[in-house]
Each structure stands twice: as C-alpha cells, then as structure tokens.
C-alpha cells in the first residue's frame, strides 16, 4: 500500500497557505512534518485528511498491484487534531464506544485500547473528570479501536507527561512496524527506523 500526495496546494481565507507538497509513503513508513509556527503544518495535515478542499494536486492511495483505491483517502485515515473530539458529559467508555461503532472496522475493544494508554481505571468516569493529559490519551485510544491504515496526527503529544510520551511513541512504533502509514506534526523524535521528514515553509 502506498500513499501518494502530488503537488498539493491548500487555500485558507482566500490565500494559498501551502503549495507544491509532494511525497510518497509506503506501508511501514512515517513522515514527520516540521516547520515554524504558522508555516502550515496543521493545514497540510488537514488537507491530507480530506478536511480541506485541495486548491490543486491529488491525493491517492494505491495498493501493492498499483490499483488506486476508489473511496476517498480520508476514509482510510485516523485523524487526531488539536482537539480530542470527545463529549465531556459522556463517560470514557461511551465516547470510545460511539467512535468505534461510528467508524467501524473494529480493532481493539474499548477496554483493551484503554489498557494500552494506561487508563483502564477511568473507563466508567465521565470524560469531564479527566485531566488534560488523560483526555489526550483517551483520544489516542480512539486510534486503536478502529482499524485504519493511515494515522494523521497533529501534535499528538501535546499535554502529555514524559511517561505518556513514551507510551505514545511505543504505540506509534508498533503501528508503523505493523505496516501502518504515519504522518505526524511533532517536535519529538518518534524513534522510528524509516522516517521521512517534510519541512514546510522557508
């Protein structure tokens, strides 16, 4: 499986924020997107996730035989943005359960996913009770409940303490080693073997 982004350009408020973004990622490869604040990292990630209309260019996903997947690429992606996408009044279990049912392609059960991010003890607590770092970890657990070949992560470790960062990097590593495609905007080294970088701006 291969993700191809060709000459992607994205507009924001009538202005071209990023242009000529091209890269190819094979299964088992990671891309770290770097750049200054305001250089368009988030915009780039949102563009790949199909959350922004492309001003020009093309994003496609091809399988090993070279056949292009017909459905839009976004349907194969997990996107973790700055916000966690959870409802404060629902419990952690209800939140993850909903996303699992809504996204389909079940992978881990909610219990197992929470075990992975070390939050099993909060499963029946309202999401509202959790600290910022715990909330972020619940959002990371969402990546584990549904199977998606591509993870697009925007500052995934924001708000996490050192211990949780280690937890996250090992999850990301396991995902990539299991032939996943990972695109992340982050300052932290992910400790992966096959990592490409994409410098935006400048």
């Amino acid at each position: 499986m291969k993700l191809c982004v060709e000459n992607m350009a994205l507009m924001r408020a009538g202005e071209e924020v990023v242009r000529d973004i091209s890269f190819e990622l094979n299964a088992g490869e990671a891309l770290v997107v770097t750049g200054e604040n305001g250089s368009g990292k988030s915009t780039t990630l949102r563009g790949v996730a199909g959350l922004l209309p492309l001003a020009s260019g093309e994003i496609s996903l091809v399988d090993d035989t070279g056949k292009v997947f017909e459905n839009p690429v976004r349907e194969y992606c997990h996107y973790l943005g700055h916000k966690n996408g959870m409802k404060p009044s629902l419990s952690v279990r209800e939140n993850l359960d909903f996303w699992q049912k809504f996204m389909g392609e079940n992978l881990l059960s909610v219990e197992e996913a929470l075990e992975e991010v070390d939050l099993s003890h909060t499963i029946d607590l309202p999401y509202y009770y959790l600290s910022a770092g715990q909330k972020r970890r619940v959002a990371i657990a969402r990546l584990l409940v549904s199977d998606r070949p591509i993870w697009i992560l925007d500052e995934p470790t924001s708000g996490l303490d050192a211990q949780s960062v280690t937890l996250f990097t090992s999850l990301a590593k396991a995902f990539v080693e299991d032939d996943g495609i990972l695109i992340a905007a982050t300052h932290l080294p992910l400790g992966l073997d096959k990592t490409k970088t994409l410098e935006i701006g400048s």
Binding site: R46, R74, G85, K87, L90, E94, D97, F98, W99, K101
Partner: protein, 219 residues
Amino acid sequence: MLALLKREIRIAWRAGGGALTGVLFFLAVVTVFPFAVGPDTKLLSHLAPAILWIGALLASLLGLDRMFAQEREDGSLDMLVMQGHPLMLVFFMKAFAHWLMSGLPLVLATPLFGIMLNLSPLGIGATMITLLAGTPAISFIGAAGASVAVKLPRGGMLISVLVLPLVIPVLVFGIAAITGALTDPAPFTTPFLFLCAITLFTSVLGPLAASVMLRHSAD
C-alpha cells in the same frame, strides 16, 4: 448510525435536563400569552392553536445553534465527516435527534397546555397531530441554518432569523389544518398533507444543505 442517535440522545439528556428545558420554555411562552391578551377564556380558547404553535415553534429553535457548533468546537465534526457514511444521513440523524429531544416532548406536552388554554378535545387532538407532523420540519430546516452559522460564535440569534421565515409555511399549513378540523367548511386533509409534504421535503433538503456546507468547513 444508530450509535450516533444514541449518543445524541444521551448528550441531550445529560446536559441541562435535556427535554425539560424546551418544555419549560414552551410552558413559559404559553403562560405569557394570557397576560398579554387578558384572561378571557373564550378569546384564549380561540387563540389556543396559534399560541401552542408559536410556543412550539420558538421552543424548537432552542438548541439549534449547538447542533453543529459544539461538534466543531470539540473536534468531533472532523471525525464525523471523514468516515464513509453518507454525510446527508449523518446530518439527518443529528437533526432527527434534535427533534426527538426538543420537538417530540413539546407534542407530548400539548394536551396539558391545551387544557390550560381551554381548548376543546378535538382542538387538542388536531394541534397535537399537526405539531407531530410539522415540528420535524423545523429541526430539518434548522440543520441547514445551523450549518451555515457553524463558525459564528454568536450564531444563535442569526440562526433564528434565518430559520423563522423559512418555517412560516409550516406554521401556515399547521394552523390551516387545525382550523379545518375545528370549523366545518374548511378542509383538514389538504393542508395536513401539505404539512407532511413540507416535512418530508425538508428532511432531504436540510441535511443536504448541511452536508454541502460542512464537508470542508470544520476548520
């Protein structure tokens, strides 16, 4: 999709007493009218269908502004639009859930308020059935309005301004059907079927407008 419906209902139920607030607002509107027009029982029973419809209309507008704005603020909207589900269906469900938690309780509360306004049993029945057929249209048109104003921090007022003129036909046919049921020469069925048609039409149009609007505007 049923998971989405279940989630919406759970959220509405937990935050702020859910359906209670809408019914309470409805009750407050109904209570205000006798102060404005005077406690004349005959006059009130004559005005009752109009009072109930206006009360239900205003109460249905509550919470419309949160329908998509909240999803956008907490980041859920991104994930809602990324999946393979037809977006129209997703937003149809959101609007339907809004009706279940705001419109339906109003319909169920109507008999009680009808009695307070001295409305005849036939009048209460007619009001209930027209509200049942008509209030979903408010939620569906509301979905279109809410999607347009999703980025505005104070969209609530604007949504009401946008949606109210569009739901006037609903009000017209609803009241016409009640009049038809209560007075002899006027027909009930014709306006009632128009009302149903409007609701069915908006159940497609509202979610469609919202899906066009929100496909790329979560940012």
